[in-house]
Amino acid sequence: MKEAVRIQQEDFSQDEEIRALQASSKRMGGIATFLGCARDFSEGREVSEISFDAYGSMALSELNKLRSDAIEKYGLLDARIVHRIGTVKGGDNIVFIAAGAEHRVAALEACRWMIDELKQRVPIWKKEITPQGEAWVTPHP
């Protein structure tokens, strides 16, 4: 089975991740997921590609801490986080987060918390490549 936390160039399967999460416990009554995708339009410009840079070892370590923190904070049964790096095009998957809990509230709240924290804590940067040139992205709230 694939690791619960991964940084990878290749695409991921949401179905595989959810199946892996479900397989971790039969007490799981609620699974919440977040899928972040590449937009082909941003700040009034067409975006042809998005490229990611990461401080790989620290990003993986922070993602693992984030998962552990979420499991503890929300009493999750399990959680999974996959983030892509390299170059993606509009519509491609970027990040997938899944939280599994006995009940829906913990799963939903943990999923929201993990993506918000990821943006604050995990050293990954995105650059938008447009027909007019390329620019590093200023974080959105």
Binding site: A54, Y55, H83, L118, Q120, V122, P123, I124, W125, T138
Partner: protein
């Protein structure tokens, strides 16, 4: 030696992915940042986040041990 790492917008501003800085006794994170700002003023202006040996650090007074790995990082934009 201190191994300094640059990523994303900061690597673009420095034109480098890493740099080596001689370690001197008493060198702090803030002191290192000031030294690098002479050579890379734009990059250090963007450096709002820092890490030492892969851990977030906010205290510029932190003393740096020889052979530390230090990253000066722009605000993250993953996800």
């Amino acid at each position: 030696m201190i191994n300094v790492l640059f990523f994303g917008p900061i690597a673009a501003a420095t034109g480098e992915r890493e740099a080596s800085v001689a370690h001197v006794p008493g060198l702090t994170l803030g002191g290192l940042k000031e030294m690098l700002a002479v050579q890379y003023p734009e990059a250090m202006h963007l450096a709002t986040m820092m890490a030492v040996n892969g851990e977030h650090v906010r205290d510029l007074a932190l003393p740096l041990a020889d052979n530390s790995e230090v990253a000066f990082m722009a605000k993250f934009s993953g996800g």
